[in-house]
């Protein structure tokens, strides 16, 4: 144990002096991520606000009597009605951005409406301008509702007669559950990716780096068994991965604090997640997961001759982490006996359940067992590779 700690302490010291590792482990999750998250969320919020309140220029091609639609459009907040001669001109004005949207009534519009037929209102605009389209749709819905009410009045029919059923939803899930199920997947997605990235650079530095610097031979000629060297180095990699995950987790909460627009009830739920039980349950999953990551990375870093070669092997392995993490965020993917056995996906799904407070502890135990089994297999693979003369001294 003493020799393992000697290797661990020396490698930790070296790792903490590596600017590249510190950047990925501390600066990105704790500073850069909250900054980027804060800025993009603020920009998104500001943009949505602008879209909702900016003056909307709506081109209007009338066809005689419009039954008050022009007046309704003009009276809508932040909406300017601009008369246009025909639809060709309307299309052209929208395309060259002098108008945002367009409305055109079919010929004989009023007659059709007044004779109980269905008349058509044509709208023009770009699909991408969805907030503007929603604002116009609200005005047109109101116009439609007024016309329906007028018809019902003229026919002396009560509105209830054409509304035999109405549905009212009563939410039974707690806010915590709703948030957990809806957005709970994002949280583990972020910290798992960071965890992988955070352990990748120390893994490369501590194994490929030893080969590249030429220090591996001197180290192997010291009176220490190889497995002790491996364990000492692996401990640093795992610690770096866990630390990066924790710091990215902290970074997410800092980001949430930075964004002023998040509703109080969501913030309360977010902060309420951080119970000792949640943190312990998360760490218990994270530890074997990082050992598994380390166990997969180490054989590649032992084999690689240079930092460049190691990066070229480990970077594509990112996708093996990202893919299950993305699947875990998809709606409808639930934690069950099968998904509990798939690494990364199981941690993402279980974190969602932990946040929602609906975790099945039997499945949780299965996840821990499967991760421990995978971690053991990966570590065994590392031991074999580190014992291979050809890999260790490959140059």
């Amino acid at each position: 144990m003493k020799q393992i700690l000697i290797v661990f302490k020396k490698d930790l010291r070296e790792t903490l002096r590596d600017k590249r590792t510190l950047m990925v482990m501390v600066v990105v999750p704790l500073l850069l991520f909250p900054m980027i998250f804060g800025i993009t969320t603020k920009m998104q919020g500001d943009s949505a606000k602008d879209q909702a309140t900016r003056l909307l220029k709506v081109g209007y091609v009338a066809a005689g009597n419009d039954l008050g639609l022009a007046a309704l459009l003009s009276s809508a907040p932040a909406m300017q009605m601009v008369p246009v001669a025909d639809t060709a001109l309307l299309r052209q004005d929208i395309r060259n951005d002098s108008l945002d949207l367009g409305v055109a009534l079919e010929p004989g519009f009023a007659d059709k409406v007044m004779t109980m037929q269905t008349a058509t209102i044509h709208t023009y605009g770009a699909l991408t301008d969805d907030i503007a389209r929603d604002r116009l749709a609200m005005v047109l819905d109101l116009f439609q509702a007024n016309l329906v009410q007028n018809r019902l009045d003229s026919l002396h029919i009560d509105h209830a007669a054409i509304t035999p059923v109405q549905t009212t939803h009563h939410e039974t899930a707690l806010m915590k559950e709703t948030i957990g199920k809806l957005v709970g997947g994002v949280l583990p997605y972020i910290f798992i990716i960071f965890c992988y990235m955070g352990s990748m650079f120390p893994a490369i530095d501590l194994f490929t780096g030893e080969k590249e610097r030429g220090s591996i031979e001197t180290l192997l000629s010291a009176p220490i068994e190889r497995w002790k060297i491996l364990v000492g180095k692996m401990m640093v990699i795992v610690l770096a991965g866990i630390t990066t995950a924790i710091l990215s987790f902290t970074g997410i909460f800092i980001s949430l604090q930075l964004v002023a627009d998040i509703p109080k009830e969501i913030m309360d739920v977010a902060l309420g997640i951080l119970t000792p039980q949640f943190i312990l349950a998360l760490l218990a999953m994270l530890l074997p997961l990082v050992i598994f990551f380390a166990g997969l990375m180490i054989p590649a870093t032992i084999y690689a001759k240079s930092f460049k070669e190691a990066s070229s092997i480990l970077t594509p392995m990112n996708f093996l982490v990202i893919t299950p993490a993305v699947i875990g965020m998809m709606p409808g993917v639930e934690l069950n006996v099968v998904t509990a056995l798939i690494p990364v996906l199981n941690v993402v799904l279980c974190t969602k359940e932990l946040i929602a407070g609906t975790v099945d502890w039997g499945l949780y135990a299965l996840i821990i067992a499967s991760l421990l089994a995978l971690a053991t297999a990966a570590v065994t693979l590392s031991f074999r590779r580190f014992g291979s003369e050809k890999s260790v001294l490959r140059s």
Partner: protein, 256 residues
């Protein structure tokens, strides 16, 4: 003492390696039934052209590699059955200084002292002696990345000697070094001989061998061609130039 008895080292070749080596053989013989002994208080030189198998033999002595056949003992310990004990009595200095860039010289030397389980008192005394001998105090607190080539070589020597090994292995120690830095190594080898240590070094530089070696082995294509004392070698030379004699021996070696 180092005893190498009938040592053979074979490597299995992958398909890619077979293709690169333009051979259909699945195995490559790097060292073929080599035997020699290095005595305490004497300097043994392992001489051979590039790719002769020198580094492989030294790596087997350092128990970084295991022989396919035969046995090696270092300071009385078998490198296969008691490799940790064998390594404890050995210092290994490679041609590439191989330092830890982000550690200071003192931190790195302490790391190896700890790995060799050197007591605090011994470490203090030996560090002081080596750092004074090699004039290292001026850069002891500097990170290895900031050192000049000569400083790096000195740091590497300090790391190799901090546990006061009985056996010292040098793998092409002066390769690529300037004259002044190479001189440090040569002086060190002389000092080690005076102290009664067993020293083995590999080289392809005949003048270096002439300067340092008491005993000599010439290896080519994994086979030992010459093994004996330097005096005996000199007395049997067919060419007055050591370099030319070395070339003659290599060129007259049987083809595989």
């Amino acid at each position: 003492m180092i005893e190498v008895k009938g040592v053979t080292k074979e490597y299995s070749l992958s398909r890619k390696e077979q293709k690169e080596a333009n051979t259909g053989d699945q195995r490559r013989l790097a060292v073929d039934n080599v035997s020699f002994t290095c005595q305490p208080g004497r300097v043994f030189s392992l001489l051979g052209p590039n790719g002769a198998g020198k580094t492989t033999i030294l790596r087997m002595i350092a128990s970084i590699l295991q022989p396919t056949a035969g046995s090696i003992s270092v300071a009385g310990y078998d490198t296969q059955t008691a490799s940790t004990a064998a390594r404890r009595h050995m210092g290994f200095l490679t041609g590439s200084t191989g330092l830890y860039d982000r550690l200071t010289v003192t931190e790195m030397v302490k790391y190896f002292a700890d790995l060799f389980d050197v007591s605090a008192a011994d470490y203090k005394e030996r560090k002081e002696r080596i750092f004074t001998l090699l004039d290292m105090h001026g850069f002891a607190g500097k990170r290895c990345s900031a050192l000049s080539t000569g400083m790096k070589q000195k740091a590497s020597i300090a790391r190799t000697m901090i546990h006061d090994p009985q056996v010292v292995v040098f793998d092409e120690p002066t390769s690529g070094l300037d004259v002044i830095t190479a001189e440090n190594i040569i002086n060190l080898v002389h000092d080690l001989r005076r102290e009664g240590k067993t020293v083995i070094f590999s080289s392809h530089n005949m003048s270096e061998v002439d300067l340092l070696a008491d005993d000599l082995a010439i290896i080519h294509r994994g086979k030992l061609l010459i093994n004996g004392t330097m005096d005996a070698f000199r007395s049997q030379m067919q060419d007055p130039s050591l370099t030319k004699e070395f070339m003659r021996i290599i060129q007259s070696a049987p083809q595989p």
